[in-house]
Amino acid sequence: MSKEAILNKLSDAVVGGKVDLAKEGAKEALAAKIDALDAINNGLVKGMSIIGDKYAARQVFLPQVLMSAHTMYAGLDLLLPAIPKSAMASMKKAATAVVEGDVHDIGKNIVKTMLTAGGFDVTDLGKDVPISTIVSETKAKKWDALALSTLMTPTMDGMKAAVDGLIENGYRKNVKVCIGGAPTSPAFAKEIGADHRDANAQDCAAWLKEVF
């Protein structure tokens, strides 16, 4: 199978949410000695970008996006270990988290997917993450971007605590902090000293790509 056919297979697998096809395509890419980063960017990520555009245009909806994200990660699991460490080192590092007291993580997971598709090396801290963990890990792992989410009002203050914590530990100037989730707003982002607030995952990833 040609390189182009394998890349198309990876892209089509993501668009169609076909996990087995993505795994198959990833194995074929490695066997054909296609550069893993090339396979990711021009195969899996290309497919995720197509789905992202279709979601923005309301041609597909959340279930399809989640299936595509699941498929992309299945392919990434096989391709990422084949990327040379030197190539990984040049990628911007981002982290995602739902702040302490909240477990609603669909939005955060889509941000994680879009950041990965956008070329970031993403660490997902998960949901209900203690603020102290967010603050200390951001500095320790030298993340360039931090995307925080919450769907609930009482836990919004955790976002402020995270920003304050980063100021206190001296790392704030090194990291871009984005927030998201239904109760948040650009005004709230400004109030707590975050850098940005977006209404959707794609715009968040696009903003961070532009910033870096």
Binding site: T153, S185, A199
Partner: protein
């Protein structure tokens, strides 16, 4: 025009008769626990039918709403179905341990005894506040729709993906959720509430397209059957929309609710404003309500929220006038008033006061 009673005002809005002013209901539910016994925890409020009811009664005394709608939270059914619910002292409870781990688990659901658990608390509590308030205001129970209940108990991400990979399993579980809802509808019918407000959480284009929404909640079964049952049981059928980009053609034009409350999401392009909702005909046969930013109740000043309410009254009155609809809009929060200890009581009162002042309709 002479001042109407709360019930007269709402009935005028529903029937498009002459009303004295717009009606109002900042959706103040859990936040009113702060008015009970000097302030009680969310846990106590959500587990004790008398305390649950007392919050609505105290809220009515304090603010003079036109409605009382018995929202507790969105984890009531999931908890009674066996999911783990995290119940912090002063935070809205939420599911932190969904129960579906494999496709087979979808078939293990059984309708719980609605007299027990928090289903029992909400039914009994609704009866208690309706006993006191039903002659004063329009009362309603509040119930989670089948797809909402399933996504809560099984985990939303899991259900959404299984819609594609295992749709028959999802449908089997939805049938049980619907049967549970049928029991709850019959329970609410005995509480004396005038209406029943459904939360069909996923009826929005950020989450589901028309095809998926129709298949997994829509008019043909599940929601359609429950809406019909609600009316048959003698309650006005209402919907609380929880999200941006709502399926208004399905939820208002096809479902035909008596009352429909809109969420506040101004940042999403395509979500209609109050004015646009009216202009597009959705208030022609339905009493629509919304869309004050819920965050203003915590972070806004009295002056700010008064101005927002004044502007909203002006916006909707102008739009209603153009369509010959008089007072057919509820000045309400676009989602529950945050049940947070920091929510400002004076801001709730400010919305009611501003509606009284700026919501007067000239006939």
């Amino acid at each position: 025009m002479a001042e109407m009673s709360h019930i007269e005002r709402v009935m005028a809005a529903i029937t498009n008769a002459k009303g004295d002013r717009l009606s109002t209901y900042p959706i103040a539910c859990g936040v009113n626990r702060n008015l009970v016994n000097g302030g009680i925890t969310y846990r106590d409020w959500a587990h004790n039918s008398k305390l649950f009811a007392q919050a609505f009664i105290e809220g009515q005394k304090a603010y003079g709403f036109d409605y009382a709608i018995g929202l507790m939270d969105l984890s009531v059914m999931a908890g009674d179905l066996g999911a783990g619910v995290r119940m912090d002292e002063q935070n809205t409870p939420f599911v932190d341990k969904p129960v579906v781990k494999s496709v087979e688990d979808y078939e293990k659901f059984k309708v719980p005894d609605i007299k027990k658990g928090r289903s029992g608390v909400i039914l009994e509590g609704t009866k208690l506040f309706c006993d006191v308030l039903k002659t004063q205001v329009i009362t309603a129970g509040f119930l989670e729709g089948p797809l909402l209940a399933l996504t809560q108990v099984a985990g939303a991400e899991r259900v959404f993906m299984d819609m594609f990979t295992n749709p028959s399993a999802v449908h089997k579980a939805l049938a049980v959720m619907t049967a549970y809802d049928v029991e709850m509808v019959k329970g609410f019918a005995k509480t004396g509430c005038a209406g029943l407000c459904w939360d069909y959480l996923w009826g929005n284009y950020s989450c589901l397209g028309d095809k998926e929404y129709d298949e997994f909640e829509g008019q043909k079964k599940y929601a359609g059957d429950l809406n019909e049952l609600t009316t048959k049981e003698g309650m006005a059928f209402c919907i609380h929309n929880c999200a941006d980009l709502p399926h208004l053609d399905t939820q208002i034009k096809a479902f035909k609710p008596v009352i429909y409350s809109m969420a506040y999401y101004p940042l999403i392009p395509g979500s209609p404003s109050a004015k646009e909702t009216i202009e597009q005909g959705y208030a022609d046969n339905c009493l629509v309500g919304g869309q004050i930013d819920p965050q203003l109740f915590i972070r806004g000043s009295v002056e700010k929220i008064t101005q927002v309410t004044k502007d909203l009254c002006h916006e909707v009155k102008t739009a209603l006038c153009k369509r010959g609809l008089g007072s057919r809009y509820i000045i309400a929060s676009g989602c529950e008033v945050p049940p947070d200890v920091h929510t400002k009581k004076e801001n709730i009162k400010a919305v009611v006061d501003a509606t009284k002042k700026y919501g007067v309709v000239d006939w």
